[in-house]
Symmetry: C2
Subunit: 342 residues, 2 copies
């Protein structure tokens, strides 16, 4: 292990930010050993801090302190959204720091721009935690399937809607009651619109499509149908409804990306993916179909994906991982039905 | 892309060796782009060659030619077993070449020794294709779960026995008839003993255990029960029998590894893993349970795992991937029942 030290700053002390801080502390030895050097938590940035926090000593509300501290080699962004998170991410990358994020909105909307800055500054912008929580789907798409031409990626990418749909089909409760229960259990937010409208799934499938097909697709152009209104979908006995995000190559070489509820029967790999779990299927020309399954959200699973990226960033501090996609935001998408049945 | 060239030799021109050669040819551009430099197939070694092969120009039966050719940076070993494969692997590593293999027997029996030589020579010994065919389980255990303490790994690791068990439960045929059908379809070999005795599953679970727990375990010490004799196993309605390889930490800090048929009910993640498919569950302290599912064998899925390793070896030619495990072959294993129910 090298004697070099390497400091970490966490932006945002919500669910995932605090989970990351806890995991950095509890898994310290293993993380240092895997990273090949000592990784020290130095700052946690938020607008307000819990008074009784065990991480009080790290708190700051001044990003410029982090930006100007050359000890800070890795910045974890768990603020979310495209506001300050966007600004801080650009500033951190421009200051030559690696950035690790769970922010799917920012990666889906501005991935190409941020990866371009990362490339220019020879640092990493990593986002394993942005899709599928603790499921290592981003790495898999990048590395493991490097030997395949990927033809299609699809899956259940949102745990909240999958919980609601599972409740409706297993217990026969109404959409409204299932949503209420999901809110009471903390699976759905008070304003559940990003989940139930399909917008969250749309961001995630756009990130997977960018990796699989090498360019950014504008989430605003994707055909999105959520689970708020499923009139007209009849469910044959033994089948289930699942909200699916899907991206694939069409027969004539185009790309189609869409989000819609699907009737899934027993033979489909996603049939048993219930509750808050996610399942993602990747189709490659050589490997065939591969499925990844796990908790798609939650504090610790998502924090473990963040920490895996931190380790990777530290390991690759001198040899940047070549993650990149082109600007394809002006690409016209093929219609959803161009992909045929699931 | 660098202008450096980098030659490849394939040892053994059976199913996986020929699949690798085909994929290196058909996926050439994508592979070179992912590897960051041109990777050229230069030799294919076997004892006899098919007369009409499209790869005739590469054939040799003299390993010393490969060993002494400094252009050869990566050697793919798909011979299998612990005979010449063992000798050639040591010689290739000692000659400073990266070695990529699908040989589970060799990795399970001599992994520690071969990884030690690789470490000393600063080259890679990679074996993604040795477990789970095209499922990227080895990478996942090494990299993606670096942030977790792994407590248990288990799964359906042998497609042949899973095909036989699925046939028996779905169609009610006898063990003998299901085996015969598997042989006719090419899923089972003429001598099926390594599969049906559980030996193949044992080698694979020993490799996963070595990665998860950091040391080599002697496959000969593992309690192994195959599917040849399942007397006494009663299957409640709606349940299925699956041959499971399992490795985990016991309550008092020991390690238990075993192979045995299990009665699996509907709630288990492995319930829907049928036919020749494999399913592997990893439990980590932060990530919870993650399942990986795909074709666990077959020419092209396994070849795609070999090629992914070739790309990785070329990318890491200057910065060796730190895969290593200690010699733990004298470790006493805890009994199977120390892990509790699945």
């Amino acid at each position: 292990m090298s004697a070099d030290k390497c400091a970490l700053a966490i932006l945002g002390f919500g669910n995932i930010g605090s989970g990351t801080a806890e995991l950095m502390r509890s898994g310290r030895e293993r993380i240092n050993s895997n990273a090949g050097r000592e990784v020290t938590l130095k700052y946690i940035l938020d607008v307000k801090f819990p008074e009784d926090s065990a991480f009080k000593e790290y708190f700051t509300n001044d990003f410029s302190v982090i930006e100007n501290d050359s000890d800070v080699k890795v910045v974890v962004e768990t603020i979310g959204g495209c506001g300050v998170a966007y600004d801080f991410t650009k500033r951190a990358l421009n200051a030559g720091k690696n950035v690790v994020t769970s922010n799917k909105e920012l990666v889906a909307e501005h991935g190409h721009e941020l990866l371009t800055i990362a490339k220019e500054r020879n640092v990493n912008y990593l986002f394993e935690a942005s899709v599928g929580g603790g499921i290592p789907i981003i790495r898999t798409l990048i590395q493991c399937l490097a030997a395949n031409e990927i033809t299609e990626v699809y899956g259940i990418l949102n745990g909240t809607t999958n919980y609601i749909l599972t409740k409706m089909s297993d217990d026969g409760v109404s959409y409204e009651n299932a949503l209420k229960e999901a809110q009471e259990l903390g699976y759905a937010e008070r304003d559940p619109s990003a989940d139930v409208s399909g917008k969250d799934t749309c961001r995630k499938i756009c990130i997977l499509a960018a990796l699989a097909f090498g360019k950014q697709f504008d989430p605003g152009k994707v055909s999105v149908r959520g689970i708020e209104n499923m009139d007209g979908l009849t469910v044959p006995p033994g089948s289930k409804i699942k909200l699916i995000g899907r991206a694939g190559k069409t027969a004539d070489g185009g790309i189609s990306i869409y989000v819609a509820p699907h009737v899934i029967d027993k033979r489909n790999l996603l049939y048993t993916v219930d509750g808050v779990f996610n399942g993602i299927v990747v189709k490659g020309d050589a490997v065939g179909e591969v499925l990844f399954y796990g908790q798609g959200a939650g504090k610790m699973p998502t924090a473990s994906a963040v920490v895996a990226d931190v380790i990777d960033a530290v390991k690759h501090i001198l040899t940047r991982k070549a993650i990149f996609w082109e600007d394809g935001s002006d690409t016209e998408l093929a219609p959803p039905d161009a992909l045929g049945d699931l």
